[in-house]
């Protein structure tokens, strides 16, 4: 799953007609792992997206997120100077609440609009996170979001370069966001 999304991001980055690509690929983030993996970037991105798009204050907490029968996951791949993915995951009740806050509509179940909303949350989180590091912002593409629903599944990545895995809550709802980097140029 992650490979497919990441490859899509790489393909999108390459297809972007970026005339400065060769010049920019001389930029390296290899020496900047600490800067790129600064956990404050992720916290700031989550707070910004939830405040601006949902109008709620969102804060990190130690976790875990209470398990629900059904969960909703959005995956947005990174391609370019950094390869990996941004993964948002919540229970269905939180996903429904997020969609309701974004749209002003009510939902009884995780339908296509809820999935669409969670995909957009994943997209904005990925964009906001990479925007915190200028070289990453300019040299890393995003895939379109993939949304997965179901129960009893786990995210597993083999030996990532680095991984951030944070829990957040707003009101009585909680969710988790993971940044997986499996390659840094």
């Amino acid at each position: 799953m992650l490979n497919g999304v990441r490859n899509a991001a790489i393909a999108r980055k390459q297809a972007g007609g970026n005339d400065g690509m060769e010049r920019k690929m001389a930029v390296s983030l290899k020496e900047s792992v600490q800067l790129v993996s600064d956990p404050r970037h992720l916290d700031g991105s989550v707070e910004e997206v939830f405040q601006m798009m949902l109008g709620v204050a969102c804060a990190r907490f130690p976790g875990p997120v209470p398990q629900e029968e059904e969960s909703v996951t959005a995956v947005v791949g990174f391609g370019g100077l950094l390869s990996g993915a941004c993964v948002f995951r919540s229970g269905s009740s939180t996903a429904i609440k997020i969609a309701a806050l974004m749209t002003g509509m009510e939902f009884a179940e995780v339908d296509d609009t809820v999935k669409d909303a969670i995909g957009e949350i994943g997209n904005m989180l990925a964009g906001a996170w990479k925007g915190k590091v200028p070289d990453l912002s300019a040299n890393c593409g995003l895939s379109v979001p993939a949304v997965i629903t179901g129960s009893n599944y786990n995210l597993h990545v083999q030996a990532p370069e680095f991984q951030l895995h944070h829990f957040y809550r707003f009101d009585e709802s909680s969710f988790e966001v993971t940044i997986v980097c499996d390659g840094l140029q």
Partner: protein
Amino acid sequence: MSEIRTLIVDDSSVMRKIVERSLRQAGLDTMVVYEAGSGTEGLDLLRSKQVDLILSDINMPSMDGLEFLRQVRAQNLAPGVPVVMITTESSEEHVKQAILAGAQGYIRKPFTAEQVKERVLPLLTAA
């Protein structure tokens, strides 16, 4: 402000609704909205409808927002109509690409209704 005909292009129906709501909050409460779920749909719509404003996402499957905009300009589908790109991409390079493709404005997601107002209303006044 008189009735504004607006085309919103985004593969996410949720984002189309949010953009519409932000525009209405910005004072365009009587506007007519046309929605397109892709660049191709947007081009088709412009062949049959006249619009006063276009807002488009960039990161879309099949035809992205920049290609959509290039086609709009190349086919002269909306002469003189301001186009604002709305996207998660925020680097100077992306803004430059959007302007080169023919955009007049750029809004980064996430955004507030106030930011939409600040970037869109001056374009309509100028037009």
